[in-house]
Amino acid sequence: MTAELEYAPYELMAAAGARELKDGEIVTVGLGLPVIATFLAQRTHAPNITIIFELGVVDPEPIKVAVHGLSDPRIWYRAKVHTSFADMLGSVLHRGLVDVGFLGGLEIDAYGNLNTTLLGDPKGKFRRFTGSGGGNDVASNANRTVIIMRHEARKLNKAVSFITSPGYLRGNGERERMGLRGGPSRLITDKAIFGFDPESKRMRLESIHPKTTLEDVLSNMNFEPIVPGDVPTTEPPTAEQVRLIREEIDPDGMYAG
């Protein structure tokens, strides 16, 4: 009898992120878990994906993924192309060639609208954060986006303080009427995976992670997602995926714990 595979929540999330990528796709990646998910996909089922970083980096092979930010040259190592915003966000993303964009944020609502700008009252007292960077551009122009966030009630909110990066706005075709391409296809948290209803565009529970209950998922959100009658359990990472993350992709364990 084999012992049950031990893995950390972030390893399950990275495996879930990797499953969202198909071989041959072009992916824009920010930092953190999306980098691990993308390198994991590249080392397993999607060896021919193209990875781009907005500031002008194509297909890097960094020794370390534990870096200070996109401006850290460690993440540019062994790239195939060093180029510019105009190229990456312009002639690739704006042109419509990006299949998947990874996003994260401070807050998200039931229609996948993301806030990375501020918390509080925009016209009164607020706490300022990063703003858009390329986030709004990816949300507006990628053919689909995959959002990765921690599952906390204050982050999964009824309304966001500020829409930095539009999801489906108020649903029912508003995004399409704005002339925006694509839209969010998945939200991956540390408790569950969500999709979006094809008609209403409201968030819909797709699977619940092992050792997590439906009640735990719903009580840590400030809005009600659509909950189908039968919600499956999220597929856990395989032993090989866990090995790749620990030994090859993130040996420093930057995202562990």
Binding site: H68, R74, S84, T117, T130, G134, N136, F162, I163
Partner: protein
């Protein structure tokens, strides 16, 4: 014709109140020596612009040299927010015109091409756009595509008075190479009325002529060339030196409060005569050699 100037001469060419576009991105190729000298020369009321905020914009805003920023957002990544920008935005003392990385790039690109406006698919449906539409005069509008009739958001071009750019290699005419990713630097320079180049290495024009395909900034756009080693410290210059993690942490901690930030300025900006004094203060060559980039890694 030589355009080589001292740091003080190049900075003295910048009057108060102009729009300066900066080459920094978070903790890479920020024009730090330039920013320090602007603060020492008491130049005020600058508008600064860049796609993603760097430490150069943060220190200029914190020291009161710049009171307006046009940018696409940004932080220092894992070492936190740009605290001077955050304070200025939260307390309303910093006039902010906020976009996204691509919309900033497109504004510079339109400026560089001499176009009256540029259409873009970004920003629509966002609160970023709502704010820009409310500002007077608004830098955004809409227009129908004359070919398809489809409505498009259009942006006003951005034409800075001066681009200030940190590069690895330049000649005395300002022909310059930027190694590694270039983010918005090329469009910034070409949109601006002139450029000031800070270079780690000053080479002969003959050396430039032997590899002209590497030249990103042509000399005819450049007014001053400042040859100053470690002029981006504590940020990185790809293939020349790494960022100084310890000094960045010191800046990050200090800039969390106005008092701490003032102490930082008193020590590292006002407390030294010039850039050479700054380099001595942080430990001189003995310390700086530890930051030298490995030629294979680039950092």
């Amino acid at each position: 014709m030589t355009k080589v100037a001292t740091l003080a001469e190049a900075v003295a060419s910048i009057p108060s109140g102009v729009h300066v576009s900066l080459s920094g991105f978070a903790t890479a190729r920020c024009v730090m020596a330039f920013a320090h000298e602007v603060i020492r020369q008491e130049i005020k009321e600058l508008t600064v612009s860049q796609c993603v905020a760097g430490m150069d914009a943060d220190i200029l805003v914190g020291a009161g040299a710049a009171d307006r920023i046009v940018y696409g957002g940004g932080s220092r990544g894992r070492t936190g927010q740009h605290y001077c920008l955050r304070r200025g935005i939260e307390n309303g003392t910093l006039i902010t015109e906020e976009f996204s990385s691509l919309s900033m790039t497109f504004r510079y690109l339109a400026g560089s091409l001499g176009l009256p406006f540029i259409p873009i698919r970004s920003l629509r449906g966002s609160d970023i756009l709502k704010r820009l539409q409310e500002s007077e005069p608004s830098p955004v509008s809409t227009l129908n595509d004359p070919f398809t009739g489809e409505e498009w958001l259009v942006l006003k071009p951005l034409i800075p008075d001066v681009a200030v750019v940190q590069v690895q290699v330049a000649d005395e005419d300002g022909n310059a190479w930027i190694l590694g990713p270039r983010w918005d630097n090329e469009e910034q320079v070409k949109a601006s009325k002139r450029a000031i180049v800070f270079t780690e290495r000053l080479v002969s024009t003959e050396a430039i002529r032997r590899e002209p395909e590497r030249t990103v900034i042509p000399g005819f756009r450049v007014s001053h060339v400042v040859h100053l080693p470690f002029s981006a410290h504590p940020t990185s210059v790809y293939k020349v030196y790494d960022f100084d993690a310890d000094h960045i942490k010191q800046y990050a901690d200090a800039s969390k409060t106005p008092e701490g930030f003032q102490e930082y300025l008193d020590k590292y900006v006002y407390g030294v005569k010039d850039h050479w004094g700054y380099l001595e203060l942080i430990g001189g060559m003995e310390y700086l050699k530890s930051l030298a980039a490995d030629p294979v890694l680039g950092y």
